[in-house]
Symmetry: C2
Subunit: 198 residues, 2 copies
């Protein structure tokens, strides 16, 4: 199993792909599709999103200091791809994509996407200019889960959300569940029970 050298490039995969919502008081709500996004801290929970300064949404986030991260299901993929190639300078992306802007709990300006399975309300805590992109580190101040994905005991069933991943320029659905964190050291009866639970 030898490796071939190729030019350095952004080949981490799979990555998430999300709709980032943003707005200012002067500018109407916008959406930008971001795959350069990741969890960066657990306590407090934080995510980073990296955006080119040339993008319309960059200024909205810079000025407002807030954004939402909206997870993407298969049903949202067409709109998500569209929001990645078009600019909010030229159109109202919510209207164009038939998406509904709702109030993101915990934030003042940035909207969440009603059709998204789950959204994170984020307040910018750091921003770092890294070259082509500026990385905004946002603290997750609120999470909204689509009500059909959470049961009466408060357990979240994200496996029912039909989430999409991104890898090397392509979008993929998620396939079967292969294990859970810690499965490699779980006792056989625990492994069996947890895998059956789904």
């Amino acid at each position: 199993m030898s490796h071939t050298s190729i030019n350095p490039s952004t080949l981490l995969a799979p990555t998430p792909v999300v709709l980032v919502g943003c707005a200012t008081q002067a500018e109407k709500a916008n959406l930008i599709t971001v795959a350069w996004v990741g969890t960066v801290n657990s306590k407090p929970p934080m995510v980073s999103v990296s955006i080119q300064p040339i993008r319309h949404s960059y200024h909205l986030i810079k000025e407002s200091g807030e954004f939402t991260v909206n997870l993407v299901s298969r049903e949202l993929l067409h709109a998500t791809d569209f929001c990645g190639v078009k600019s909010g300078r030229d159109m109202d992306k919510f209207a164009e994509c038939n998406l509904t802007a709702i109030k993101a709990e915990g934030l003042t300006l940035a909207p969440a996407v009603e059709e998204s399975p789950l959204y994170l309300s984020c307040k910018v805590r750091e921003s770092l200019n890294l070259g082509s992109h500026t990385m905004f580190v946002g603290e997750i101040v609120h999470v909204g889960v689509r009500s059909d994905l959470i049961d009466e005991e408060g357990k979240i069933h994200l496996n029912k959300a039909n989430l999409v991943a991104y890898a090397h320029g392509n979008y993929y659905g998620l396939a079967e569940r292969l294990g859970f964190f810690g499965y490699s050291v779980a006792r056989p009866e625990v492994f069996k029970r947890r895998m059956e639970e789904g």
Copy 2:
């Protein structure tokens, strides 16, 4: 489609899950499993990995200023889960998991994983203490692709790598390809050709 409020938490999904390789001159090579990883810049290409200071690997990366990011296939998943729950203070993870440490091109100390489909050699450019985790931002100075995943024309076939994603405590395979970046605005003949190419 209403949303239910839950406590703020790290619910970005799906995320990557990778094996991070690291070493110092004094300490032997180690592996740590990281899902808090993301692409953060395109030019130059950069990734961030977030690690708790209590982890053995934290000091190895802090001291050496380098690490590798090794993508995870289904074949590597058991070892990857194991490397996420065990500490390199107590064992040689490469030996324990039957993995092979190879030289990572472009780096001095941190090893790559021979069995991984693709590795990124990274040099630390920034580090940010965010609370529970420190985020290391690494510039990707080299990429190694397993030779069976790249054809004679240099095209990478990452879809053959059987990559794994992580979502809300569970590991999933990738399912079918749903589209490519820009598919929502592609002309019908381009869409057809690109989707057939795979």
